[in-house]
Symmetry: C2
Subunit: 244 residues, 2 copies
DNA sequence: CGGAAGATTGAGAGTTCTCAATGCCTGTGG
DNA sequence: CCACAGGCATTGAGAACTCTCAATCTTCCG
């Protein structure tokens, strides 16, 4: 019972919060999910979790901290195509596709669960979980499309604002972060590589947003001073996140 | 046998070619797939097949011609997030996600199959088909990431070159197009909206590529004069398409 | 304390955009 | 069969946004 109370005292795991938004899970499902969280590895800043071309033995799931998907284009420049936070799968697709077509790297301190293919097969037996994971994968696809619109059709300031709104909404949806601030281990260069800009320009844009009283980013902490104004600036419409 | 020879004379359906690349299908599967192709609607240029916010009764599948996914950002500008060709599903995800978070529009003359939810449920009963459709959806996700890298980290010329290489490879993979040319109903404005550029700039880039002897686009026909040089220019690495 | 990574700022260059005019092609109605 | 309208393509000129290069400052960590 002590164990139980400790469990109840700590907030529910982001993965659970996320999946239960749209799928009713029963105890069998929860047990299976908790077995996914047993084999956990720690990565410290800027180390690759998986590299392009690999066919990893395990499926990886973010437990704590952040990571990013990225690709290197031919001239050596990097594009970050997703930020992953607790509850996000790194490579559920690898079961189908074989080799990774991009890499995944930890940002700051991160803990990642390794899930054996056998266990994933067990998960696939349960329709409720299959549906839940499929749903999560489709939301990721929606996020990817939203990033395309962001990079393709917004100026630098609005891109930053939009990304911040998204990360804030996603954190809240897994029971993390705070009404008006959150921790974010990215460097300005990471933001640049995610938004199709340079770190120098990101720096100027952050200053502008700070001067306009919209948000402040320093010491790995994002403080949103005026949530509504920031959303308005970014043209942020959260429907693509398919939250409840 | 006459029937047979007619079937053999006409090229196999793009959807079959696509799915059989990675999944062994049996006759039951093929029958089911052919039942998906019975209810076909025709769309003529620039008409929406599905609109953002809708929860369509049918799932849509491209049979002939092209369409695009697109979103409108707050200031009215458009971002195309995917080009769909025969064999591509428009909205398989709608079964899970509910409302559309983007719209889909026909480009030029297009024929689209409407598939009832009942039939989709039947499809979902067959693991081979489920796997095949899931695989297709994951490839779409990979394409989306490749577009992010393209828009975020390549200059205008290389973006156009990369897109052309991709469309060419995808057409070949479903048994369409030609070794060095293909039909493409997009306007220069469509290309611009897909690549995060303006139509004026697309025009200049097309001229440049033409003058350099790499490719020519006119009268809705793309002619690739030097395939290898174009791939080199674009830094095109087709692994993200997961072809065999 | 020293070194390395990251943040900040300035100045000038470059790519892409905007605005605007013109040309081309196609389908339609007289 | 021709004139015309509308959509699309093409070109020029100047403006705007973002990049590059480079120096300096700050923070973090061993």
């Amino acid at each position: 019972m002590q164990q139980r109370s400790i469990v109840e005292a700590s907030p529910p795991h982001p993965l659970l919060v996320k999946l239960e938004q749209h799928t009713k899970l029963v105890d069998v499902d929860r047990d299976l999910l908790s077995r996914m969280l047993t084999d956990i590895r720690t990565f410290d800043g800027r180390r690759d979790i998986i590299r392009v071309g690999e066919d990893p033995e395990f499926v990886h799931l973010m437990i704590e901290g952040w990571s990013c998907r990225y690709s290197i284009v031919n001239d050596g420049r990097r594009q970050i195509t997703a930020f992953l936070m607790p509850g996000d799968f790194c490579d559920a697709h690898i079961v189908m596709l074989g080799k990774m077509d991009h890499s995944i790297r930890a940002l700051g301190h991160a803990r990642v669960a390794s899930i054996s293919r056998d266990l994933m097969a067990e998960v696939a037996e349960r329709p409720s979980l299959t549906r839940a994971l499929w749903w999560a994968s489709l939301v990721d696809e929606g996020i990817s499309r939203a990033w395309l619109a962001n990079i393709g059709r917004r100026n630098a300031t609005d891109r930053v604002a939009h990304l911040v709104c998204e990360l804030h909404a996603r954190l809240l949806s897994v029971g993390m972060g705070n009404d008006d601030s959150f921790e974010m281990p990215m460097t300005q260069e990471d933001l640049a590589d995610a938004l199709g800009l340079t770190s120098v320009h990101i720096n100027r844009v952050l200053r502008l947003l700070r001067e306009r009283g919209l948000m402040t980013f320093s010491n790995r902490t994002m403080v949103i001073q005026d949530v509504e104004a920031l959303k308005r600036e970014a043209g942020f419409d959260p429907r693509y996140l398919h939250l409840n």
